[in-house]
């Protein structure tokens, strides 16, 4: 599908970055004209015109952290359904975590995921490679083979598990320097989180759920910032969730360490109080933290201490969530709600403007993951990877209506601001007026 040449589209009256309205003309997969020129060229190109008055035009969103579940758990999500959810969420590129079955720890598996993404053609699916063989944390996977494969892997992670062995982590950080890679760490000290079910605090004590203390994240963040500084490598912290971890990253950045960090939408909005329902739709790893943490994370995101909002989109089949808390698998849907949650927690609160949203949801993740054709400025000559958002819209989340195969959204029944109206991948609409632009076969 992606080889079909894109026609011309004139986005009329939209406001790039929510700033001054300017027409944008897309043709041949690129932005070919903007402003007054655009309308003139549009006639010549016989362009489709879309009325975007009052809408915000953003660079296509880039998710540095999603679980598309294929291969291995196709009852929860596939590359096709995950791609559809991503496009509807305003994404044009998604990084797929390697905790599949088999794990994406060889060139063969990452190329398979990459190829599946291209065949679906709704977003660019960029595989992340496992750091260690089978994600077992004992032996480095063939990282260079994945880097030089057709999938051109640059981000490596054992996400779901921590690379807890400090020596192995050091070696991984060093090794990927040869091809400009980055290690994305799932920061969880395993011994401090044996059997952990939720954030360790007063509520875990009274609910009788084993605690996942903030220090178990912060101990790894501190260690890995020091390691990355010592060996001069790039480190990325996945789903940073505590105020203390944000302070550690800020201090490491101040020292000049090449560390970046992401926060999930749910950690910006929800707190451990959700666990009081014992409904495992709120079970996630790292766990929902305290209200003070959500405020610190928002502030860190606004200040640039945290670079990226990444979804940690984690679909789970119903039987893995309709259980007692301890038996449920951790994780939440995120791709279709991320932009709205960021609008609620960051834009409506005045912490970020839309240019800031473009930075943390498109430009920074593309830069960290080295995706040259994404996260680019909205400017003539740039790739036409764009999303068009209605900032005034409000919508109610219904898990059953999301494109994902799974329904485990923690925002069920909640009204959220801002809705994605159009998404363009290389000039071709993947979302038209809020609906999928093409059929997806799961």
């Amino acid at each position: 599908m992606s080889h079909v040449p894109a026609g011309s589209v004139l986005i009329r009256g939209g406001a790039p970055y929510g700033e001054r309205p300017a027409d944008v003309l897309l043709s041949g997969g690129r932005i070919v004209a903007m402003g007054r020129d655009a309308a003139a060229h549009a006639d010549a190109a016989d362009a489709e015109q879309l009325d975007a008055a009052g809408l915000v035009v953003l660079p296509g969103l880039v998710d540095l952290h999603a679980h598309l579940r294929e291969p291995g758990a196709e009852d929860a999500e596939t590359v096709a359904t995950g791609s559809a959810a991503a496009a509807l969420g305003g994404y044009t590129a998604v990084f797929a975590m390697p905790n599949t079955e088999p794990a994406a720890d060889t060139a063969g598996v990452v190329e398979q995921v990459y190829r599946l993404g291209r065949e679906v053609g709704l977003v660019d699916v960029q595989p992340i490679g496992a750091v260690t063989v089978g994600r077992r944390g004992t032996q480095l996977a063939e990282l260079a083979a994945m880097a030089t494969s057709a999938a051109r892997v640059r981000v490596f992670s054992d996400d779901g598990d921590c690379v807890s062995d400090p020596l192995l982590m050091r070696r991984a950080l060093e090794y990927v320097k040869a091809f400009g890679g980055v290690i994305a760490q799932h920061a969880q000290e395993p011994r401090l989180t044996v059997g952990a079910q939720m954030h360790e605090g007063p509520l875990s004590g009274r609910l009788g759920l084993a605690g996942w203390p903030a220090v178990a994240e912060e101990a790894i963040v501190a260690r890995d910032c020091l390691l990355a500084g010592h060996v001069g490598s790039r480190l990325h912290i996945c789903h940073l969730s505590t105020a203390g971890a944000a302070e550690l990253v800020a201090a490491a950045k101040a020292r000049g360490t090449a560390v970046t960090a992401e926060v999930t939408p749910h950690h910006l909005l929800l707190t451990d109080a959700c666990a009081a329902s014992y409904d495992p739709v709120f079970k996630v790893n790292p766990p929902l933290r305290t209200e003070a943490d959500t405020h610190a994370l928002r502030r860190a995101l606004a200040d640039g201490v945290i670079d990226v909002v990444a979804t940690d989109h984690a679909p789970h089949a119903r039987q893995d969530k309709e259980t007692e808390w301890a038996a449920a698998r951790p994780g939440m849907l995120g791709l279709q709600t991320a932009l709205s949650v960021v609008a609620a927690s960051m834009v409506e609160t005045g912490l970020l403007d839309w240019r800031g949203v473009a930075r943390v949801m498109s430009e920074n993740p593309a830069r960290i993951g080295d995706l040259g054709e994404h996260g680019r400025p909205i400017a003539v000559g740039e790739p036409a990877n764009l999303t068009v958002v209605d900032p005034a819209a409000r919508w109610t989340v219904r898990g059953a209506e999301l494109a994902s195969l799974s329904r485990n959204t923690p925002f069920e029944g909640r009204e959220l601001p801002a809705a994605v109206r159009w998404t363009f991948l290389r000039g071709r609409a993947t979302v038209r007026d809020g609906s999928p632009a093409m059929e997806v076969f799961a």
Binding site: Q197, E200, G201, P202, L203, S204, G205, R206, L207, G208, L209, A210, G211, P213, L269, L270, T271, A273, C274, A276, S277, Y278, D279, T290, E291, A292, T294, H295, Q319, E322, T323, E324, W325, A326, A327, A344, S345, E348, T349, P410, R414, E415, L416
Partner: protein, 395 residues
């Protein structure tokens, strides 16, 4: 914080529509010496001796008993009073059976081995003439991988009026209560709560410290609870219920066996047993599993016993009229010495007997009121539990 975020918080304590049991109504007229099976059905002509309508406040019981926090003070006293009356009613009977729950079905859904608690509930239900189904995880569809939800739907289809649930996962009875229409009684969930144990403990305490007088509570009484509070559902329920009843509770444990945030609980906390015991009206010893050593909670069983075991010397520190309690099963020689367990003031076997009576009262109050557990009640959740923890965590 946005309203979105705060409005997502839901209370873990469903209240449901309360049983609308007016004072004195539950027991009807005194038994006229007839056969206990002569009564026509639930709630009708209960052959319990006359209830003092003037003594009983109009208490409201929730539809489910999931947490000791589901019981406010009048409801807790009502359970204890009901248990007293049941005890009196049973005392004079040749056939130890009341017809109260005839035609009702009580399912004991036990996912954990707990012979004593299951038998206690089974005897309680049978003495109320309910049909009892024991559903244990072993040798059932559960061992074939059936989920809790599917099991719940099966029980629902079979028309269970009450489900007594023991589960190793904290919150499992909460989940169950959303899937069945009958009443759910938490018979111990993970490291969360065990409300009927707390009720039988309160019943035992009231008998010894307040003469078992109906309508009375435990105001001003001092109860010391010792041991593995971190993993103890008994401790959590007792702290909540005894506080509701006006007792002052002191938890004693090594710091490793106290949960984070225990400072916000409605009780005092101490690391020193010898300091906490003087003047106590009761001391409740919790079972401490030797395996906790492997989690580095304490160095050796010997050191634990030395610091936190109840021996005769420590027994002598509590109030002369005080009592010694243990929810069982005991590790003799670990948290309690045999001389104390079998000695003066030990009410440990009495607790077991009281367990049946109190569970009869709970099943009776949940099931005999026509309003309780009705199908129209879809489990509306109350905003707040009856007992509040401290506010220290509300960040």
């Amino acid at each position: 914080m946005t309203s979105l975020q705060t409005s997502l918080h839901t209370s873990p304590h469903p209240a449901g529509r309360p049983a609308d049991l007016a004072a004195g109504e539950p027991f009807g007229t005194p038994a006229a010496g007839g056969s206990p099976t002569a009564a026509p059905g639930p709630g009708a002509a209960d052959p319990l001796p006359g209830a003092g309508t003037d003594q009983m406040s109009r208490a409201r019981l929730p539809r489910h008993l999931l947490s000791a926090a589901d019981l406010d003070r009048p409801a807790a006293i009502q359970v204890l009073d009901t248990a007293e009356r049941i005890d009196q009613a049973m005392a004079g009977r040749e056939v130890r059976k009341l017809p109260t729950l005839r035609g009702r079905t009580v399912v004991n859904l036990f996912y954990e081995d707990s012979t004593r608690t299951r038998i206690s509930f089974e005897v309680a239900a049978k003495r109320l003439s309910a049909d009892v189904i024991n559903f244990s995880a072993k040798g059932s569809s559960v061992s074939k991988g059936e989920s809790l939800k599917d099991t719940a739907l099966t029980l629902q289809a079979m028309g269970a009026d009450a489900v007594v649930c023991r589960h190793s996962a904290s919150g499992a009875p909460h989940r169950l209560s959303g899937w069945v229409r009958g009443s759910v009684v938490n018979a111990g969930d993970g490291t969360h709560e065990h409300p009927t144990q707390a009720l039988l403990d309160a019943f035992t305490l009231r008998r010894h410290l307040a003469g078992g007088r109906t309508g009375s509570a435990l105001d001003g009484r001092r109860v010391v609870i010792v041991g593995d509070v971190l993993h103890s559902r008994v401790a959590r329920s007792n702290v909540l219920l005894l506080h509701t009843l006006g007792a002052s509770v002191t938890l004693v444990a090594p710091p490793t066996l106290l949960p984070v945030g225990v400072g916000d609980w409605p009780c005092a906390v101490s690391y020193d047993l010898d300091d906490a015991l003087p003047g106590a009206d009761a001391v409740m010893m919790l079972r401490v599993q030797r395996e906790r050593m492997d989690g580095a909670f304490f160095p050796t069983a010997r050191e634990y016993t030395r610091r936190y075991g109840l021996d005769l010397r420590r027994r002598s520190l509590i109030d002369p009229g005080g009592i010694v309690m243990h929810p069982g099963p005991m590790n003799r020689g670990m948290e309690i010495s045999p001389a104390v367990a079998d000695g003066d003031g030990s009410v440990i076997t009495e607790q077991v007997a009281n367990g049946v009576t109190v569970r009869m009262a709970v099943l009776y109050l949940l099931l005999s009121g026509e309003g309780a557990g009705s199908e129209a009640d879809t489990g509306e959740r109350s905003a707040e539990p009856a007992v509040q923890y401290g506010e220290g965590e509300s960040r």
